[in-house]
Symmetry: C2
Subunit: 209 residues, 2 copies
Amino acid sequence: MTPTPPTTGIPKPTSKRWHRAGGEHRKELITQTALRLLHQKGLDAVTMRAVAGKLGVGAMTLYTYVDGQNGLHREMVRTGFEMLNQGCAENSTLDTDEGWRGGARNYLRFAMENPNLYKLMFDHFMSDEDKDLLHGGFQHLFDKVKGRLSCEGYEGENLDRESRARAGRFWIALHGLAMLAIAGRLVVLEGGLDELIDDLLIHVAPDRA
Amino acid sequence: MTPTPPTTGIPKPTSKRWHRAGGEHRKELITQTALRLLHQKGLDAVTMRAVAGKLGVGAMTLYTYVDGQNGLHREMVRTGFEMLNQGCAENSTLDTDEGWRGGARNYLRFAMENPNLYKLMFDHFMSDEDKDLLHGGFQHLFDKVKGRLSCEGYEGENLDRESRARAGRFWIALHGLAMLAIAGRLVVLEGGLDELIDDLLIHVAPDRA
DNA sequence: TGCGAAATCGTACAATGTACGATAGATTGG
DNA sequence: CCAATCTATCGTACATTGTACGATTTCGCA
């Protein structure tokens, strides 16, 4: 067993007085720098040396704060899910009829404005933390749909199943649209993206049977 | 200017008697080898040296047949779209009601059985050839939907727009489901994939208003 | 103030894509 | 049938990548 010299029973906030008490902040800084690079030049440009260079430190310094390139990617993905959850909730409580549209637009806006990050989020292996974030976001959608359906006669197991199905369809469609738009594969569909979103939502929104 | 010594005006089938007349076959062999590696070990394992090694040749030899790694990827993508178009048409003419289901299942089967290739197909920059293949596949779907709708009173511009919209929704949903399934992000949706497909199809199939 | 721990980073190594050029072999003109 | 030319092959080399290692510096604390 590890000796753990004093072991007062109460571990300090940052156990082992991590990194001169500035560790978390520096990790954040590294992640933000990497995210900026990812956004501007794509995933291939997010090299350890490049990120370190932007920060004016040696490449190996990053290893003190993140667990190698894989760990850096993980941090970006985690931050991405936080941004997505936050962004989706903005000006859209999913409570009104127009709420679906707003939430969906927010989701797609995030994907279109952060295409490299969005791709990474759904390509990189997910940590447990990421799963929690994704699950949380979906749970929120699920709860909202459930609230609506409970006013329409659904109840018990039926309510749960139907809510999950509708929320799932909604999300699947959003993800499909986002990925195709990012990949530039929507050229086969003439017309602006906005109309496409509206049209899709009308037919896949959770308040549709 | 290049001299082009004889210049008979009629370029031979393989202009410049390409590669001892075995060039195309060898290019195919290289692509197939790369595809096997991609399927078994993922994109990172598809290195020039690894592919060349499997074929028992030097890495630089590949450069005679494909334009570097990027060209190799392009060949894999092109082949992938051919496989997808071919696979979708199998046992499914999209003519009967059950046809939508069959086509969709074929599409998803291809994606699930070739996840690395499917991801590459929708991530790699598309050549004009790829665009033609993708466009062709979508056109087929579009025509089928159009045929159905023309029996339902739609005509003229309305027929075109409605057909494109429904085919688009169908494809978007399929792509979203495929990408989420590949990424292993469907855990939030309990239940088997088959039921998920059925459920989705019922609500996004092109014969639904 | 001094000691131990932690952070920093220079160096080095393996793996990658690929440019270059030598070599061997096929093709062709005479 | 031979020599000239062209072409496929691939060994070598270089730049770039992630990162393991260890020396050195810096810091926290007693």
